[in-house]
Symmetry: C2
C-alpha cells in the first residue's frame, strides 16, 4: 500500500519533488505537516485544515496515549474517524515528548518510565508498547521509539542514546506487523556529533522501507549546526525514500531543509505563533498587535489565497488579538499553515523547472526569521 | 428600505411568523440572533455562523466604542465589512452594558459617566452619542439608549429610570437621521411593575417605526415573572412591527416568548455554555464532560444537521473539552446556535400550519432548562 517515487531532482541543487502513496491518499513532497497534538490542529476544524492545502497531519502518541487513551481511539474506529480527517496521518512515537514534557523519567534498555504531564501518574513504555499504541491509533505513518537528547548532551551520553535508539528500532520493527496498513519510519539520532550521526544514519537506513526520519535536531542548537548535520547526513539516506526532518517548520528552515534534500517537515510553530498574534509573510514575521496595523485595512499578505487574507484586514485581526478573541488565533492559524503549505507548493514548482537555486536566493533575500514587518 | 410584514398568525395562540426587510437582506421571524460582542461571534468564522442558518447577528456598541473605537470601524467601511458579515446586523445601544459591566457609573439626565471595563478610563455617553456611535458602526438595526434596572430595584427608582428612558428615547429619535439606512428600535422599560411597564409600552410605541424592544427583563427575576410581564405587555405592541425581547435566548424562553407574541431574540448563552462544554438538545442540556459520554460515539443530537453533529462524536467532543482544546467550544458553539436557529425554523413551520399549540406542548414535555441528559 505504500510507495515513494522521486518525480524530479533539481539539476543544480539536488532538491527533490516526490510522491508518497499511503492508504489514505497521496502526499506530494516537499510537504509541511500541521501538528494536531490532541487529535485536533488547534482551533481549526478538519475542513479548515483541508482548505489550507495540507495533505497530511501529525498527531502525538504521547498525548493521545495519556488522554483519551489509544484503546478509546481504536474503539472509535481509529484516529482518522475519531478526528474526522480522511487524509493521511502521521503519529510520532512519544519518544520526543517523554524527553521534553515528562518529569522524573527513567530510561533503561527495557524502555522509559515517566510521569504523566496531566496528573503525574507513572507510566512505563517500551518500544513494543510504542508500536502497539500507534497500531491502535491507526495512523498511516508511525515512528520508531527513540531516545532524544538535548543539544548540550556530551559525547558519551549521546553515543549511548544513539545506540539504544538502534536497539529499540530493531525491537520496533519486529513488533510491527501490518506494514501494508502502517509504514514505520526509523529515526536517525546522534546529537551534534558527526561520527555518531554517520553511524546512526548508516545503521538506521538498513531498517527504512519507505521513509526515514532525522530526529534530535532543532533541540536548542544554532540553526547553522542543524544545517551542517543535514549536509553531513545527506549521502547516507536511501535515495528512493522520503526524508522527514522532525519538529522543524519555520519558513527559513523549510527552504534550507529542502536545499539539503529533506522531503517532509512538521512543527507546531504556525499555530502557536498564530495564537500569539503573529503571522508569517514572505518578507518576515508580522506582529499584529503593533500599533502600525491599527488602521491598516489591507490583508496580512496581499497575494495570499487563504480564508483569512481573502476576507479580513490587519486592523480587524489586530482588534481580535487585542480583545483576546479566539477567532484571531484561528484566522492566523489558517494563514500560517497555508503559508507553509504554499511555500512547499512553490518549492515543488521551482524544482520541477530546475529553478530551485533562484527560488532559494530570492526567498532568502526577502525573508529572515528575525525580521519584523 | 425597512419593512415588516406579518405573514401568518397562529389561529389558536396568536404566535406570529413575519418577514423583516433590511438593507442587508431579509430576516424571517421568529428569529434568534447570535451575539458577536467584539464584532465576532466567539470562535466562529462568519462562514461558520452563516452555516448555522443565522440570518442576523448582534454586536455590542459598548465594547466596540471602547475597542477598537467606532471611528476605526467606520473607517474600515462599517461593521459589515470590518467583520465580513454581509447579512443584517443589530447593535445594542450600550445602555445595558453600562448597567452590567461598568464600575463607578453615574447617571444623570444628560447621560452616563462610566469607567471602561478594559482600563478604567472615564467616558461620558449621552443618548445623542449612543446614536452617533451606532451611526458610525453602521448596523441595520440600532437601539435607543436606555436606563436598565436590576430585578430588585424599588418602584420609585424603576419609575424614574423608565421616565428617563422615555426622555432619552425622544432625544435618540431626534438625533437619528438616516432611517432608510438604519432602523432605530425604542426600548420598553419599567422593571417588574405592571403600571410602569404599561405606561412605558404605550409611550414607547409612539416612537416605534419598524420594531420595538422589551428591555430590562431576564435581569435576575424568576422566569414566571418575565412571562407575566410579556403577557401584560402583549396588547400594547404595534401589531405590524417586530417585537424584540432583549438578551433572552434559552430554548424554553424562546418558545415561551413566541407563545407570548415575541418575534426576535438574542443571547450569548449558546456560545458561552458551549465553551463550558455544554450542548443544547431537545431533551435537555448535555454536559459533555460527563463520564457517561466517554465511549459514546453517537453525535450530540442524532437528527441535527449541524457541522458538529454530522462529523463528530460525543466521545471526541468530551476529549476536546477535557483537553482544553479550543475546537471543543467551537464545534459546540456551531451546534448550539444551529439548535436555536432550527428551533425558530420549526416554530415558524408550526405557526404556518396553525399547530403552534401542539409544538409548544411537545417541546415542554421533552425539554426543561434544568434537565440534564
Amino acid at each position: 500500500m505504500f510507495s515513494y517515487e522521486v518525480i524530479k531532482v533539481d539539476k543544480h541543487t539536488g532538491a527533490r519533488v516526490g510522491r508518497l502513496v499511503t492508504p489514505h491518499g497521496e502526499v506530494m513532497t516537499p510537504v509541511f505537516m500541521p501538528v494536531g497534538t490532541n487529535a485536533t490542529v488547534k482551533s481549526l476544524t478538519p475542513e479548515a485544515v483541508d482548505r489550507t492545502g495540507a495533505s497530511i497531519v501529525l498527531a502525538n502518541t504521547y498525548h493521545l496515549y495519556l488522554r483519551p487513551g489509544h484503546e478509546l481511539v481504536e474503539k472509535a474506529g481509529g484516529l482518522h474517524k475519531f478526528m474526522n480527517w480522511n487524509k493521511p496521518i502521521l503519529t510520532d512515537s512519544g519518544g520526543f515528548q517523554v524527553f521534553s514534557l515528562s518529569k522524573l523519567r527513567k530510561i533503561t534498555d527495557d524502555g522509559v518510565t515517566f510521569g504523566s504531564y496531566i496528573d503525574g501518574s507513572r507510566h512505563h513504555l517500551t518500544p513494543e508498547d510504542a508500536v502497539r499504541v500507534q497500531n491502535a491509533l491507526g495512523a498511516d505513518i508511525i515512528m520508531a521509539f527513540d531516545e532524544c537528547t538535548s543539544a548540550d548532551t556530551d559525547y558519551r551520553k549521546s553515543g549511548r542514546a544513539m545506540e539504544r535508539t538502534l536497539r529499540w528500532l530493531d525491537r520496533c520493527v519486529k513488533a510491527h506487523t501490518d506494514w501494508d496498513r502502517q509504514m514505520l519510519f526509523p529515526i536517525i539520532q546522534g546529537n551534534m556529533y558527526e561520527d555518531l550521526r554517520k553511524e546512526s544514519a548508516k545503521a538506521t537506513a538498513e531498517y527504512a522501507r519507505c521513509g526515514i526520519a532525522i530526529g534530535g535536531l532543532s533541540v536548542g542548537e544554532p540553526k547553522e549546526v542543524m544545517y551542517r548535520m543535514l549536509e553531513l547526513l545527506r549521502p547516507y539516506y536511501p535515495q528512493d525514500q522520503p526524508r522527514y526532518l522532525m519538529g522543524v517548520g519555520s519558513p527559513d528552515c523549510l527552504v534550507e531543509g529542502v536545499m539539503r534534500g529533506i522531503d517532509m517537515f512538521d512543527c507546531v510553530l504556525p499555530t502557536r505563533i498564530a495564537r500569539n498574534g503573529m503571522a508569517f509573510t514572505r518578507n518576515g514575521n508580522m506582529t499584529l498587535r503593533n500599533a502600525k496595523y491599527k488602521e491598516d485595512f489591507s490583508p496580512v499578505e496581499e497575494n495570499c489565497d487563504c480564508y483569512c487574507c481573502r476576507n479580513f484586514s490587519r486592523a480587524y485581526l489586530r482588534h481580535l488579538i487585542n480583545s483576546d478573541e479566539i477567532l484571531g488565533g484561528e484566522l492566523l492559524s489558517m494563514h500560517n499553515i497555508r503559508f507553509l503549505v504554499k511555500l512547499t507548493e512553490d518549492m515543488r514548482t521551482a524544482i520541477m523547472h530546475d529553478e530551485f537555486a533562484d527560488f532559494y536566493k530570492d526567498f532568502k533575500e526577502k525573508y529572515a526569521w528575525d525580521r519584523k514587518v
